[in-house]
Symmetry: C2
Subunit: 201 residues, 2 copies
DNA sequence: GTCTATACCTAGATAGAC
DNA sequence: GTCTATCTAGGTATAGAC
């Protein structure tokens, strides 16, 4: 129980800042990835912004967390639905092409978080586990329904899809004409058991 | 035609520095990615090192180029061999686990080169094309030999393998226990037409 | 809670001696 | 060609006023 009413208010303000920051970073990719830029964008001074998040790294992790939160409500329509995979996941990947700044932030932080002492390290560990777990169960369901090749374990395939998603982001950062979602879909199709005609007859 | 003999000598020295830098970066991942660190490692002052490469970015690109050069002679035993893929490529990916610093450098630069004005941008564009082209032709050969599923175009699959390779590096940077080569191999097996028993009988 | 101002640090680049 | 020393820029973090 907080001592003052100000606590809940502070949390609300934090959330408001994050929502705003998310929009700004999404639209205009942030070049330098500096606190000042975010501060300007959300209409606060650099010091004012750090008042809420303490450090640069913590701020950026919170932005990524917020992004996940928003995406989750937007793209996860229940893991049970058999159509989960090719629709929601491919949709999410396609959506990423609309938010260049977030793709860049995510990729950049992903590399920097290699250091176990980095504030974002735990975030990436945890997020990776969650993504793979939920994805693996969806893949298993597809296999059980006979729609997906069972020549590979769902956990292994989940990891591969994660890698494809992350890796396509890197390719897309270099060349914006690359179609990230198409690549994901192509792999899915190749592993599908649907009769669809081979690409190379 | 160079005015003095010093030109060829300078090139040789450059090459020597790069070879040395490659070893050092490979073994001890470089934390800060600073010019000074490399300089210390190769036994030069910061100014002395920049004398050869001009700028930080140029230096780092040259290190990546040198790495490719070395890897190429080490892992590409002729693209014609039918065994090319699962051996050479998987071998290369496995080898990366021995050179953490290079994986980190590559991934980091890959993100920073998103900016078309970045000195490394062209390098990544060109390298991506080369990797995919040579890989696609090897995949096509496998398909023609009936060893690989033809449900996906070789160019599309080459892109996917590139993404898997890059993406697994990101996962591995977060968790060194991850087996990058195993993931690549698993995908290859899943798409193989060999009779081998399914993973989930 | 938010600002201005500033301290402090790191890092790349450059000048100039040898 | 290589070094030492220094300049400069940019960024995070913090102190203190309002």
């Amino acid at each position: 129980m907080p001592k003052r009413g100000s606590y809940a208010k502070g949390v609300a303000k934090r959330d408001e800042i994050l929502t705003r920051a998310l929009d700004v970073v999404a639209e205009q990719g942030f070049r330098g990835a500096s606190v000042r830029e975010i501060a300007d964008a959300v209409g606060l001074s650099q010091a004012g912004l750090l008042h809420y998040f303490g450090t640069k790294e913590q701020l950026f992790v919170e932005i990524l967390r917020k992004r996940d939160e928003v995406d989750l409500t937007r793209f996860e329509h229940g893991t049970d639905a058999p159509a989960f995979l090719s629709e929601d996941f491919t949709g999410l990947v396609a959506h990423n092409a609309e938010v260049p700044g977030l793709v860049e932030l995510f990729s950049r932080m992903s590399v920097e978080a290699a250091d176990t002492a980095h504030p974002a390290h735990d975030y990436f560990v945890r997020r990776g586990e969650e993504v793979r777990t939920s994805f693996a169960s969806a893949l298993r369901a597809q296999q059980d329904a006979g729609k997906l090749s069972d020549r590979i374990a769902p956990e292994a395939l989940a990891r591969i899809f994660q890698a494809v998603s992350d890796g396509m982001q890197l390719q897309w950062l270099i060349d914006r004409d690359v179609d990230m979602a198409a690549a994901v879909q192509a792999l899915f199709d190749a592993l599908s058991t649907e009769p669809g005609p081979p690409q190379r007859p």
